[in-house]
């Protein structure tokens, strides 16, 4: 995953199997590749301050990934990068973009239609049924996850650990009261507290994922 602030060209992942590859090939005839110049132009569209532009880029990319995921697309990250590539290409070609968020959304919608068509083609060709098989997991996996998460939590500062536990503690009404109290105590607007808690959760989930990969690799060895 690319990380903000972005000061140089990100490595693009367009090598996913299935429609990821065919889409890129279908939609971009000839050899087009992302250049540092094109990328800089896009960042400049987002914000004159490069640091802020980097953060804005990451937010748009996160929105794109979730957009494709909520639409049940097979490779949300690759699709997000493809949407960004197309946008940058348009800028390079001289298109004037007034509102990058709206523009990117338009590109993403077009791409979604293509993905839908490609999916349909693939399904009818291979006579595939939608894969909705229930995931039956071993208790070992669950244990490993808990161990990993515990280790990741240890890496957090005491303050952040308290924050994430308190934020997600309780249910229904208790949760709402807890969060209001927390925001008051920390002197933060509720929205800022929400963003902070969500980021911490994302961070923990990513850390747990990395730990699981390492653990599984260790087991295989």
């Amino acid at each position: 995953m690319r990380t903000a602030p972005l000061l140089s060209l990100p490595i693009l992942a367009t090598s996913s199997p299935g429609f990821g590859v065919s889409l890129v090939a279908d939609s971009i005839p000839g050899k087009w590749s992302l250049t540092q110049e094109g990328f800089d132009q896009f960042l400049a569209c987002l914000d004159p301050d490069r640091e802020k532009a980097g953060r804005r880029y990451e937010l748009i990319r996160s929105k794109l990934i979730n957009y494709f995921d909520w639409r049940d697309c097979p490779y949300p990250e690759d699709h997000a990068d493809e949407a960004l590539n197309r946008t940058i290409r348009k800028i390079e070609e001289g298109d004037e973009i007034r509102d990058p968020s709206t523009y990117v959304f338009g590109v993403a919608r077009m791409l979604l239609l293509e993905i839908g068509r490609a999916k349909e083609k693939e399904r009818s060709a291979l006579n595939l049924l939608p894969a909705t098989q229930a995931h039956e997991e071993e208790s070992d996996e669950a244990e490993m996850r808990v161990d990993c998460l515990r280790r990741c939590l240890e890496r957090l500062s005491q303050e952040n650990r308290e924050l994430i536990f308190r934020y997600y503690e309780g249910d229904g009404g208790t949760k709402i009261v807890n969060r209001k109290e927390m925001a008051g105590r920390l002197g933060l607007p509720p929205t800022a507290l929400r963003v902070r808690a969500c980021r911490l959760r994302e961070k923990l989930q990513a850390c747990m994922g990395e730990c699981l990969i390492k653990e599984s690799a260790g087991k295989i060895r």
Binding site: Y67, V104, S139, V146, C148, R161, V177, T191, R194, M208
Partner: protein, 335 residues
């Protein structure tokens, strides 16, 4: 904190319940409104936690499983939420004043509370039953008073008869015996009334219990319920075998307490035979099932794979300290 309309819309969006045009509008807003986007992410996390904690009602739970869990990325979120719920009890000691205290209710308040339900038909049935019981109880009270008054009259009649009539000892003895027989008979009827009153009260308790339990079942979907007795010693007693039916979405464990406890809140941990924590739940309260005290745990069925587990129940004292209450050993088997 959040706009309620937005929250409902976002939940419907995440569960794939919106029509295509509505959905597109939400998606457009995601790209143009950063606050809205962060709200969607936050609600997604809360929804996932609610699923893991067994707090999603039947229809929503099914929708969540069929729609939300379709994508591998979102399944990862659910897995993370499961692990997070397991480590939650390890949070630093909670100050007692931070805990929401349970409100003490009188019997009639709890009775009224039990008829406040979301289901109109259940509410109507409960109200009708309550009315009948109140009328019956009122009649019993009046009848009891009438009998008590007749009992007093009989006592005074006996005394005055003996004193004033100047009857012979034999006659006085006979009259006394007759009056005492009448008193005994009236007492018997009084006891009978008392017993009927108690019986009605028991019926009322049973009614309250069954109304509550049927509500729980409708909220949790297909529930497999198991009652676990206390005091099973590991290695000595055979663990309880729980045969979990295939379609069960929630496993309800009713942990019977060995003796009456008065902790404000209870915590439960479920560990594998090797001692690894797989699930836990805080802020549990005790329920009365007749004479017994029971702590009810609702666990999402996927949490328990086939195997042996230990359920540790802890009580939270007024100072926020956790104290062991009981251990329950189970073997989960899936049909």
């Amino acid at each position: 904190m959040e706009n309620h309309e937005d929250e409902t819309l976002i939940v419907s969006f995440l569960l794939g319940e919106l029509a295509e045009d509505q959905r597109t509008l939400v998606e457009e807003r995601l790209f143009t409104d950063d606050d809205f986007y962060s709200q969607v992410l936050a609600i997604q996390d809360d929804l996932t936690d609610d699923y893991i904690q067994g707090r999603l009602a039947g229809g929503r739970r099914i929708q969540f499983e069929q729609r939300f869990m379709k994508s591998p990325r979102r399944r990862e979120r659910v897995e993370f939420a499961g692990a997070f719920a397991a480590v939650m009890p390890e949070l630093p000691a909670v100050q007692p004043e931070e805990l929401s205290r349970p409100t003490l209710m009188s019997w009639w308040q709890s009775l009224l509370a039990s008829v406040r339900t979301n289901s109109p038909s259940l509410a109507f049935a409960a109200s009708a039953a309550l009315m009948l019981l109140l009328v019956g109880a009122g009649w019993l009270v009046i009848e009891n008073r009438r009998l008590a008054s007749r009992l007093d009259q009989a006592h005074s009649q006996r005394d005055s008869t003996i004193e004033q009539a100047g009857l012979s000892n034999k006659e006085a003895e006979r009259t006394k015996q007759e009056l005492e027989a009448e008193i005994a008979s009236l007492r018997g009827r009084g006891n009978d009334m008392e017993a009927r009153l108690q019986e009605k009260q028991r019926e009322l308790q049973e009614f309250e219990r069954t109304t509550l339990s049927s509500r729980t079942q409708s909220a949790l979907g297909e529930v497999a319920t198991f009652v676990l007795p206390p005091g099973l010693a590991r290695g000595i007693d055979e663990p309880e075998k729980l045969i979990i039916p295939k379609g069960a979405r929630t496993i309800q464990l009713q942990l019977s307490l060995e003796r009456n406890e008065d902790y404000e809140r209870y915590w439960a941990d479920i560990r594998t035979a090797r001692g690894n924590l797989v699930w836990s739940k805080s802020m549990l309260t005790v329920e009365r099932h007749g004479q017994a005290q029971v702590v009810v745990l609702n666990i999402p069925a996927p949490v328990l794979s086939m195997g042996e587990y230990e359920v540790a129940l802890k009580g939270m004292s007024g100072r926020g300290k956790l104290e062991p209450v009981g251990y329950y050993y189970i073997i989960a088997l899936k049909r």
